[in-house]
């Protein structure tokens, strides 16, 4: 059963085999995707026809690697920009929310707290359509009442940013709150006794203390935004983000260029995951 109890050889072998199979199940799709990015074939499938980097670097009529594939490069750039703004916005608002719920007291605090958790239990698709509906209602209203055409209310870059921000901010709030709860508030009192005002205390002391959590939450926010599909699907305009763009390509057949992009994404996210892990460990130990 467990480490301290005697077990039969067959039992522990079977258990080990099961766990090994589980990890194979977990990694097989990713591994295959990566390997086939380097296959010298027109299709992302076996047989193996030799190693090539052409799906990354080529710029030939029959084969355009990812580094020269303008449509995909554009969508990667769009995703980077969306993720940047979403991260900035959710870190700012999420940190405010963490301070609000951890350090302030006001009427309806409990109610507002549950409202803040709501985005966690709303399916992403629903979040997408509600925001699409509401922005459309606002847009129509502005146009009919004041004859103003507001770009923001139409599906497009900023609506995607707002849609993703609406639920990513909740995650940031939770991560930052957890860290803020461990903060020793006598440090604030000491600083205030020494003549600092609240803003100075927050800037010089509390935010310093929160730094690992902010970096970790920022990394998660960036990644969640970069990879978001469900909410973005309904809010996207002519500037497709990378997941939307890949989805359209995968649906209508595929080339190893998608494998090449996937390979870059897997490597990138793994690095980001390890950075996040490093900072969260560091946050726990201090």
């Amino acid at each position: 059963m467990i480490r301290t109890l005697p077990t039969s050889k067959t039992y522990s072998r079977c258990f080990k085999l099961y766990v090994v199979l589980y990890f194979v199940f977990l990694f097989a799709p990713l591994l295959v995707t990566c390997v086939l990015a380097f296959n010298d074939s027109q299709f992302p499938s076996l047989p193996w026809k030799g190693f090539t980097l052409e799906w990354f670097t080529a710029d030939l009529p029959q084969r355009v690697g990812i580094f020269h594939d303008q449509i995909n490069l554009d969508s990667i750039w769009v995703s980077f920009r969306v993720a940047f703004f979403v991260t900035l916005l959710s870190l700012t608002v999420g940190t405010c929310a963490a301070f609000l719920f951890e350090q302030e007291d006001f009427r309806f605090k409990q109610g507002l707290y549950f409202l803040m958790l709501a985005p966690l239990v709303i399916p992403g698709v629903i979040l997408g359509i509600s925001i699409l509906l509401f922005s459309n209602t606002l847009g129509t209203h502005f146009e009919e009442s004041w004859k103003i055409d507001v770009e923001l209310f139409r599906p497009g870059f900023w609506l995607v940013v707002l849609g993703q921000f609406s639920f990513i901010a909740t995650l940031v709030t939770l991560v930052v709150s957890a860290r803020l709860r461990k903060f020793d508030r006598t440090l604030e009192e000491a600083a205030m006794n020494l003549g600092a005002n609240r803003l100075e205390v927050i800037w010089h002391i509390t935010l310093k203390f929160l730094r690992p959590a902010l970096i970790g939450a920022g990394a998660v926010a960036f990644l969640m935004s970069f990879e978001n599909f469900n909410t973005t699907l309904f809010l996207v305009g002519y500037q497709a983000t990378l997941p939307i763009n890949l989805y359209l390509q995968v649906r209508d057949g595929s080339t190893p260029v998608i494998n090449a992009i996937s390979f870059l994404m897997i490597v990138g996210t793994s690095l980001l995951a390890l950075v996040n892990l490093y900072f969260s460990r560091k946050g726990e130990s201090t």
């Binding site: 480490r3 766990v19 990890f23 990713l30 086939l36 302030e104 359509i129 890949l246």
Partner: protein, 281 residues
């Protein structure tokens, strides 16, 4: 001190009201509006009535709910032994490493993961290639675009949200309880059902709630792995919004999905006597 409160309160209230409360109120209002053939828009329950009148709509709804339950159950059955192995069986030296390994695939975009399964399973895919080479098959079979494949994909996608909470509850299970039961002559199954599962229930429940909710609201996996006739309810919503441009009908569907998802979360919390606050922490 009050300016501090206002400073923090303003952005949070703005966020929650403009992006959560008002849009969902609008969703409800839209679902109760109906446009007749002459283009007059009136208050009406027609959108909800047509959901019950058209079998394809409510059958898809029921199908989605039932499959989501199945996916949740399968995810649990697969995840429990793995979580147990990592917390109780494996040499503690490898524990941290295995945990990182467990989490790593879920950082990768869902789209990439689904794409990986498509390359593996399709007619010209990797698995078919090996089966043909080994002589097990004479001609390739299409493994994609079936219900079972879609379920596989959904289980794979939601695995993380089951494993992590179970690992954290099993971590707090005292080994001596299992040792005592063993000394008293209990067999493996008795220990599993009398000690491990009762202790892990809070983790299992919060895992199940999240998995169910995410599966119910998933669009990508059923759409790409389930093929043309997969009929997931989110696809119906998408069709109403983007293909038929019937936003009122789509809103009604969206609201129904939201209600179902909320009821399940609420029931799950009630059954285990937990509150949302604890589960998210």
């Amino acid at each position: 001190m009050r300016w501090g409160l206002f400073f923090f309160l303003a952005p949070v209230v703005l966020w929650l009201f403009v992006l959560i409360v008002l849009p969902h109120t609008d969703l409800l209002i839209m679902s109760l509006r109906y446009e007749d053939f002459d283009g007059n828009v009136t208050w009406s329950l027609n959108n909800y009535l047509s959901f019950f009148k058209e079998p394809i709509y409510w059958l898809t709804f029921v199908r989605t709910a039932l499959y989501s339950i199945l996916v949740t159950f399968l995810t649990f059955v697969i995840a429990l032994p793995v979580a147990f192995y990592i917390t109780k069986v494996v040499n503690p030296r490898y524990q941290g490493f295995l945990l990182v390994l467990l989490l790593l695939p879920f950082w990768v975009s869902e789209l990439v993961r689904v794409y990986g399964w498509m390359i593996l399973l399709r007619e010209s895919g990797v698995i078919n290639h090996f089966l043909l080479k080994a002589g097990i098959l004479n001609q390739p079979i299409e493994m994609l675009y079936r219900d079972s494949t879609m379920i596989l994909g959904l289980v794979y996608t939601s695995m993380l949200f089951m494993v992590v909470p179970i690992v954290s509850v099993l971590d707090s299970l005292d080994d001596s309880l299992i040792e005592a039961a063993y000394d008293l002559g209990a067999n493996m199954w008795t220990i599993l059902f009398k000690i491990i599962i009762p202790h892990a229930t809070p983790g299992i429940m919060s895992g199940s709630i999240v998995v169910f909710m995410l599966t119910l609201g998933n669009y990508l996996t059923p759409n790409l792995m389930g093929g043309k006739n997969s009929l997931w309810f989110t696809e119906q919503i998408y069709n109403q919004f983007i293909a038929s441009f019937n936003w009122n009908q789509g809103s009604a569907f969206g609201f129904l999905l939201l209600v179902l998802s909320s009821i399940v979360v609420w029931l799950g919390l009630k059954l285990t006597r937990q509150n949302l606050k604890k589960v998210v922490q």
